[in-house]
Amino acid sequence: MLKIHDVCKSYNGIKVLDHVSFEITKSDVLGLAGPSGSGKSTLLRCIQKLETFDSGSVECDGKTGFMFQDFQLFPHLTVLQNLVYGPNLGKKSAHRRQSNEKRAQAMLKNLGIEEKAATYPGSLSGGQKQRAALARSLMVDPDILLCDEPTSGLDVATTMDVVQLLQSVCQTGTTMMIASHDLDFLTKISDRIILLRDGKIAADIDAKRCRNPVDRLKKYYAD
């Protein structure tokens, strides 16, 4: 599904990604852990082609969806317009537009924010923005969903909601890569966790089989 081979990237002479290689298969949920500045976000951005890398290759079968850490909803469009604007582009037939709208409304309903369809993002709470951002990234029917720090800045209850939301997305068979520094959150949701440190893979553990993944990962932080 996604093959990352020997990817290197540096900013101003500082190596942010240092010979990173791994593969993920369909329906995998991969957690990317690591301290701030370890290269998690950069790796996701390289996969999404928001950044170029210096060497190596990224092969991806299928479309990618991207969820930004700070949501990046379009503030001048309502939640529903945010969802349908991309998919509606170039679709002249009213039928296709209506079906996109129905799909968007169904998605908002699933995420519990259907009453916010006509609201502008500025008046949503953090959790609601997160849901709207998730819905928008799912509207492009991604084969792989890349989530950059989906729980940063959210309170505990909202984080639990996000876990449930992402778990429900996993159940649809969507492959996911989630970058987060929150190890508890990552172990709840991921099948496998890769820990990056100084741009290198410091650990690669099977979160489902490992008995105490959080403690194991914390050891790598401390080393």
Binding site: Q48, Q72, Y85, L89
Partner: protein, 215 residues
């Protein structure tokens, strides 16, 4: 009293000319200004845009107006009437300032807005038209209104090439009647009313395009 009214009517005849110059200048200035600010994101166009901005902002408007009205006909063989020369000069001059205003608006948007459009597969044309510029216009509207009011006041320079705008007419009346205060006050009132009208329209547009605060 009769004199004041007849002076008002005589000066009022220049209003249409002043408004034509301002409107023409806004249309050219806005169109070129948006184009120049977007072209700044095309690497090969950057020197051209910077050069244009630098030359236009670094030379007096009265000089630009004189070049367009007096020298261009000699160079290209096309005689320009006063209105066309004025509209072109004020429009080109304003475009450099508007481009800078738009640039500051574009740069104040989070980079993530461009990236979000990219991740949704939105092409550059639609990204600029539907995502970036609507947000930019909302943010820079007060600065744009200022620029339009400045443009209105700068149109008084048209008197240098003999254009019969409100200001020029007030000077003619003053010279004829040896009375400066009244005609200049009438001209001032006309300009003030036009500036207030622009401000009012700006406020209405601002209310219309307002939406909830940025996320």
């Amino acid at each position: 009293m009769g004199g004041v009214i007849s002076n008002c009517i005589y000066l009022g005849k220049g209003l249409v000319f002043t408004l034509e110059l301002t409107m023409g200048g806004i249309i050219i200035g806005l169109t070129l200004g948006v184009l120049l600010s977007v072209l700044r994101y095309c690497r090969i166009c950057v020197p051209l845009v910077k050069g244009w901005s630098s030359v236009v902002r670094g030379t007096p408007l009265i000089l630009q107006l004189s070049i367009i009205y007096f020298s261009v006909p000699g160079l290209v063989g096309v005689k320009l009437d006063m209105l066309s020369a004025g509209v072109i000069a004020f429009g080109l001059n304003s475009s450099a300032y508007m481009a800078e205003i738009f640039r500051s608006g574009i740069e104040s948007l989070p980079k993530g807005q461009f990236e979000a459009a990219q991740t949704l597969g939105i092409s550059n044309f639609y990204m600029w038209r539907d995502i970036i510029l609507p947000q930019v216009v909302k943010n820079i509207l007060p600065a744009l209104v200022n620029e339009v009011i400045a443009l209105l006041k700068e149109t008084t320079l048209i008197s240098v090439i003999g254009g019969m705008d409100v200001m020029r007419r007030s000077q003619i009346v003053a010279a004829e009647q040896f009375e400066y205060f009244m005609p200049l006050c009438i001209a001032g009132a006309y300009y003030y009313c036009m500036a207030m009208l622009i401000e009012f329209v700006g406020e209405k547009i601002e209310q219309r395009i307002s939406y909830a605060k940025n996320p």
